[in-house]
């Protein structure tokens, strides 16, 4: 269990994350069928398939660019709300990693924080509106708190917080996106985008735990 990841390991982690989200296509689609339009799974699959292709075609020369490549692929392949949001998360989140050749707990927390900030700005929603923000915001806070304890612990804390965030979205009434018009009918269902966040962080947790 390494405390930090170098470029190669970081890139491998992103590959693992991609495959893991792709594997969960149906879970995400079904979640979106319940309160959205039923395309979240196939959208995320398109995005992360694009990420895998991009990482293979042009092996990134820095951790920053590895994250950015994933974001760019998502932004151009996923489409819909998720494409803009998750694309922005990775693209904006890559910036604090500029010039760093290892991913550590602090860098990971900065990735989530900066990504979150950009996502908040892009989407114009805040916590509590039943979106992926309700998974990513607690994850970013947890990562910051544990950022001194090494990358695996930081990621594990973020993943755990995001899962709680997913649970919390079940009790929220959607006030944005396609689920908005459901009103109270959205209660009891988790937000699909929040589930995606938790899947991404869980895959990162599993990877860093073994790396």
């Amino acid at each position: 269990m390494a405390d930090t990841l170098d470029l190669k390991a970081s890139t491998d982690m992103l590959r693992t994350v991609s495959r893991s989200v792709i594997d969960q296509t149906d879970v995400l689609t079904d979640a979106d069928l319940a309160i959205g339009d039923g395309d979240h799974g196939i959208g995320m699959r398109r995005g992360f398939e694009g990420a895998l292709e991009s990482l293979d075609a042009t092996p990134p020369d820095s951790i920053e660019n590895a994250l950015k490549a994933v974001g760019t692929a998502i932004l151009s392949k996923t489409g819909g709300a998720a494409g803009a949001i998750f694309g922005t998360l990775f693209r904006a989140g890559s910036k604090p990693l500029a010039g760093r050749d290892r991913l550590d707990g602090e860098g990971f927390a900065a990735f989530l924080e900066t990504g979150l900030e950009a996502v908040l700005k892009r989407g114009g929603v805040t916590e509590g509106q039943k979106t992926m923000i309700d998974a990513i915001a607690p994850a970013a806070r947890a990562a910051r708190t544990s950022s001194g304890e090494g990358l695996p612990a930081t990621v594990a804390a973020a993943a755990a917080a995001s899962l709680e965030g997913v649970e919390a979205t079940k009790n929220m009434i959607a006030t944005t996106g396609k689920a908005r018009s459901l009103g109270e009918r959205s209660l009891g269902h988790p937000d699909p985008g929040a589930i995606s966040v938790s899947l991404i962080l869980k895959a990162m947790q599993d990877f860093t735990a073994k790396a």
Partner: protein, 334 residues
Amino acid sequence: MANPKKILNDPKKVVAEMIDGLVLANDGRVRKLPDHAAIVRTDLPDSKVALLIGGGSGHEPLFHGFVGRNMGDGAACGQVFAAPAPDIIYEAAKAVHRGKGILFLYGNYAGDNMNFDIAAEMLEDDGIDVRTVRVTDDVAAAPPERTHDRRGIAGDIYMIKIVGGAASELDTLDEVERVARKAVANVRSIGVAVAAGSIPETGKLTFELADDEIEIGMGAHGEAGVARQKMKSADAVADELLQKLLSDLPFKAGDEVALLINNLGATTMMEMLIVNRRIRQILEREGIKVHRSDVGTWLTVQEMAGFSVTLMRLDDELKHYLDMPAESLGYSRM
């Protein structure tokens, strides 16, 4: 629930194959950008304000079938029910730009808003003037004080027709934007669904309705409406839809309107014409004059069954643009 039964090749390739077929069906009047899912007129005049439309695929003939003379100059196409990515929008915008700026006209959905906004920022970095008008006609989506939270549904059709005309005749982006804002402020729609559609790649119906149920206010991707009800008569459905529409703007005696009834997919034109009969009785009773009607299939939700009713309040300027001849795969008028 029976499986959706469609004649397709690879469900993952529906959008790419559909676009190829769409370009061919246009008999040379549009082309596809080489590397992007975007449609652009081949006969674009050298100088005009550009109108770029677009959105998720799966609603054919909208949006990419609405590119042509006095209609959209280009369309950015997303995957099924997913807004197009910023790079598609950006490239489509570059291809239609003729030096006089670009109006982005699309339905108000989180995904579209964010992707078009990202593209607009990229274009502004290039020094290109971009304005955005979002269609917000669905009265079922939010109360009147929150029109900015409303979805764009079949109002798109009249919006593209009017703004397409304005962008052909008017000389500045300011003017075209002004007409578009006036039009969107005066258009209202509401739908009713009888059966669900499905996304080809998932093969799953996007919602479930019992055999005797309908949903008033259903959105264009199967988003929840305002009320799930037992099946009722065409007249009763028309009454309820019109009541919700008329009280919203509100439309009142003396108003002149355009009336559009749009098939969400699998509903018969017979049903829509029967509904039209009742709607006209109501409008007549309310003293509202119908300047123009359109009954047909334009904004579909795959094989969803149901329809929507759109009313647009007209003044002489809006009438002028609405009545201009137009030509596109999905909507043509003499």
